[in-house]
């Protein structure tokens, strides 16, 4: 209990300290302080996302009824671009908690919306595809639900949690510039942080400050990658549930991290014990609570749709709405080009990394991928402005937002080729062509499709920060569904915002269902 309690107290102290820093700082505070505030904020959002992901992922994987509810809802939420949450945030936090707390909560919530969904999906998928033998073992030894959760569930999803946390962390950086500047209608709220510092400097056209902000972000990303994510990733490898017989995986060992890891995992377990205590109290009502939550969610979205319709009827169509079809076409073509360009470099590079075991490149790309490409955004606006150049800028931005999903999935696909298949292809002396045709290509196809799904999702989301950008007076603004949405949110026009969000979500879901899911379920056999 001591460790769990101390962890909780530590978090409470962190929050208090954070709040104190927040009220005492201003937009002109030292950039270091602002960076610290941003890191705290991201950390809290990550904790929330982990809790969310564990809960809903577990829920969805446990019963098929819950799956039918949770997964589509998560699917929809995932496809809503971050700007689309602005109106919701406005109602939920800014009006209910006026002042600093409201702004701070909105910001953390926005960061949360860029982190949570993939965690939930990751938990769901890894728990769904676990080794059934584990359950049988757990049942045969009569483990209670609590023990099953702590000894079977948590350890078996922890590699996914770590992997997806890293991913979430970099997505959050990517959208930080948007999350820390909450503008609805005429009011623009700058949250104290390095993201808003960067955005502010860019709008002012202050190049030195922009570069300072960039440098701070980049160095903290690298620092955290090297000292937190990389050791965690290595450690989680020994938790993988796919023992490969002929391969010897040395357990990652480092005294300091071992100590820290042991302490943390003990403490986390104890926190869960404490949570279980409260869970036991509400246990009799858990079904009611869950269904209540879902009804609220469904009613809320219904209300949103109806309200949008009402606004439409009472105020008539906004002129910008007529350009939606064309905007969608433009945005689609941009994503398509960005996708093809990404594939063009990713496939050969991943192949080379896999073939020549360039593990250092693996590390480098992990680090590069967590760099917030959107931070470069003001600079891209500066370089690529005017005419066709702006279009190049937009496509580069979309690529930066989507390509890493493709990269890591394709690489994972290559790396997931079982060692015995590789050995078999060596024993039977497959030449390169045959090896490609018979082994690599069929092995990579499934992960290529999965990667494409996420990459396209990310591409759609990246539109809202790719199609509009400005640095000082240099601005570019390309017609597309992303820029339409940003405009209508900025204008505070609820009706058109509502329509655009609904159309946006429908387009993304439609593409998912019609193109990608079909491809995924289709049995791909290359002969």
């Amino acid at each position: 209990m001591i460790k769990g309690l101390s962890l909780i107290i530590f978090l409470a102290v962190l929050i208090t300290g954070f709040y104190y820093l927040d009220i005492t700082s201003s937009q002109n505070s030292s950039p270091f302080l602002l960076l610290l505030l941003t890191l705290f904020r991201m950390f809290f959002a990550l904790l929330l996302s982990l809790a969310f992901g564990l809960f809903f992922g577990y829920l969805a994987a446990r019963s098929s009824r819950a799956e039918r509810l949770v997964i589509p809802v998560l699917d929809i939420l995932q496809s809503v671009p971050i700007v689309g949450f602005f109106p919701l945030v406005f109602v939920l936090f800014l009006t209910t908690f006026p002042g600093l707390i409201g702004i701070e909560l909105s910001c953390i919530f926005l960061i949360f919306t860029s982190m949570a969904w993939n965690l939930a999906f990751g938990v769901f998928e890894s728990w769904k595809t676990r080794d059934p033998a584990l359950d049988e073992v757990a049942n045969s030894f009569g483990l209670t639900n609590k023990l099953k959760f702590l000894k079977v569930f948590l350890p078996s999803v922890s590699p996914t949690l770590i992997y997806n946390s890293i991913l979430s962390w970099s997505i959050a950086w990517f959208f930080l510039l948007v999350s820390e500047v909450i503008s609805v209608g005429n009011s623009t709220n700058y949250v104290h942080g390095v993201g808003s510092f960067l955005a502010f400097s860019a709008i002012q056209g202050n190049l030195p400050n922009t570069l300072i902000g960039l440098g701070l972000i980049l160095s903290s990303v690298l620092f955290i990658y090297v000292f937190v994510w990389k050791p965690l990733l290595k450690w989680s490898k020994s938790y993988y549930l796919k023992p490969e017989k002929s391969i010897f995986i040395p357990r990652y060992y480092n005294d300091f991290y071992e100590f820290l890891g042991n302490f943390l995992s003990e403490a986390v377990k104890e926190v869960f014990e404490i949570l279980f205590f409260f869970y036991d109290i509400i246990k009799p009502y858990r079904k009611k609570i869950l269904y209540g939550l879902f009804y609220i969610l469904i009613l809320g979205s219904l209300y949103f749709v109806l309200q949008t319709a009402y606004y439409l009827f009472s105020y008539g169509f906004d002129s910008s709405l007529s350009s939606i079809p064309l905007a969608i076409l433009y945005s689609f073509l941009r994503i398509l080009i960005a996708y093809l360009l990404s594939l063009l470099w990713i496939f050969p590079v991943c192949f080379l990394i896999y073939k020549y075991k360039l593990s250092f490149f693996d590390v480098i790309s992990q680090a590069i991928s967590s760099l917030p490409a959107s931070a470069l955004f003001p600079l891209i606006a500066l370089v690529f402005s005017g005419g066709i150049l702006s279009e190049v800028g937009v496509i580069i931005m979309i690529m930066l937002g989507m390509m890493w999903y493709l990269f890591f999935n394709v690489l994972a696909g290559f790396n997931s080729i079982p060692s015995d298949l590789e050995e078999a292809s060596k024993v039977f002396k497959l030449n390169s062509f045959l090896y490609f045709k018979r082994v690599l290509f069929p092995a990579v196809i499934p992960s290529l499709i999965v990667g494409s799904i996420t990459a396209w999702g990310a591409g759609w989301n990246a539109l809202v920060i790719s199609e509009v950008a400005s640095f000082g007076h240099t601005t570019y603004h390309q017609l597309g569904i992303g820029s339409l949405l940003v405009d209508s949110v900025a204008k505070g026009s609820q009706a058109s915002t509502g329509v655009i969000i609904i159309v946006f979500v429908l387009v993304v879901l439609l593409l998912n269902k019609v193109v990608w899911k079909k491809l995924l379920s289709h049995k791909l056999r290359v002969n």
Binding site: K245, S246, F248, P250, R251, Y252, Y253, N254, P418, D420, L421, E423, A424, S425, K426, V427, F428, K429, L430, N431, L434, R438, V439, P442, A443, L524, R525, V526, N527
Partner: protein
């Protein structure tokens, strides 16, 4: 008889972060043509690694492996392998799996299918050519594995615990079939090197048994099995051999 395989002063060390794991050292033995050699030893002593070194899938830390007078540098030569976990390509059907080594040799479809069919028949899987591995039972999968390994007419067949993932009855049948193939002069393999932890299996099948110690593994016993075939597991001599091997292991 000539030496088919000469293993000399073999040493293999795995480096982990700050520790070294020595799997075996000073390991030497030779194998002659037409032998059926089993390697037996406590689990984790590096038997499978040894087999992979011989097949050229992994490199020794020091020492040498010479096969048919040539040093084994990488996978090549007339060595073929049967894997414990089968190692079948899940996206290829049975006949394409069996024919993969022939396809690698550049053989055209008609010829390789013809040869593959012959071996599929030989392991008793005729009619399953179009089936995919996921639709086969463990025993059938390993039959595909054996057929695939033999289709390339290897001089030496390496088998890594080939029967340990199968149920007892299936394993029994497959053992007989492998023995028949080995005895059949018309068909490969001429020589077999098998890793196993099953003493009865080793005594039943082999002409010679190499017993390894705990790691770092050394050769502690080289036992020639001079029993007539088919061997009777109930016979006194058979029991003597198994007792001898067991006494080395414990």
């Amino acid at each position: 008889m000539s030496d088919l395989l000469v293993v000399k002063d073999l040493r293999k060390v795995y480096e982990t972060n700050d520790r070294q794991l020595e799997l075996f050292k000073d390991l030497s033995f030779t194998m002659e043509d037409r032998e059926f050699v089993s390697i037996i030893g406590p689990s984790g002593c590096g038997k499978s690694t040894l087999l992979r070194l011989i097949a050229g899938l992994d490199k020794p830390t020091s020492g040498s492996i010479v096969f048919q007078g040539q040093k084994v540098i990488n996978e090549n030569l007339g060595i073929s392998m049967v894997f414990q976990s089968f190692g079948l390509f899940p996206w290829l059907n049975v006949i394409d799996n069996v024919a993969i080594g022939l396809e690698a040799k550049g053989m055209n479809k008609k010829d390789r299918y013809e040869i593959a069919k012959k071996y599929i028949e030989k392991v008793g899987l005729d009619g399953y050519e179009e089936t995919y591995p996921s639709e086969l039972s463990g025993g059938m999968k390993q039959r595909v594995g054996v057929a695939r390994a033999l289709a390339v007419t290897p001089t030496l067949l390496c088998m890594d615990e080939p029967f340990s993932a199968l149920d007892a009855l299936t394993a029994e049948n497959l053992r007989e079939e492998v023995l028949l193939l080995w005895e059949d002069k018309e068909f490969p393999p001429d020589s077999v090197l098998m890793v196993t932890h099953n003493v009865e299996e080793a005594v039943y099948m082999s002409t010679r048994i190499l017993v390894l110690s705990e790691k770092p593994a050394k050769l502690i016993k080289d036992v020639k099995i001079s029993l007539d075939r088919p061997r009777n597991k109930k016979s006194e001599e058979f029991q003597e051999y198994t007792d001898l091997i067991y006494s080395c292991l414990t």
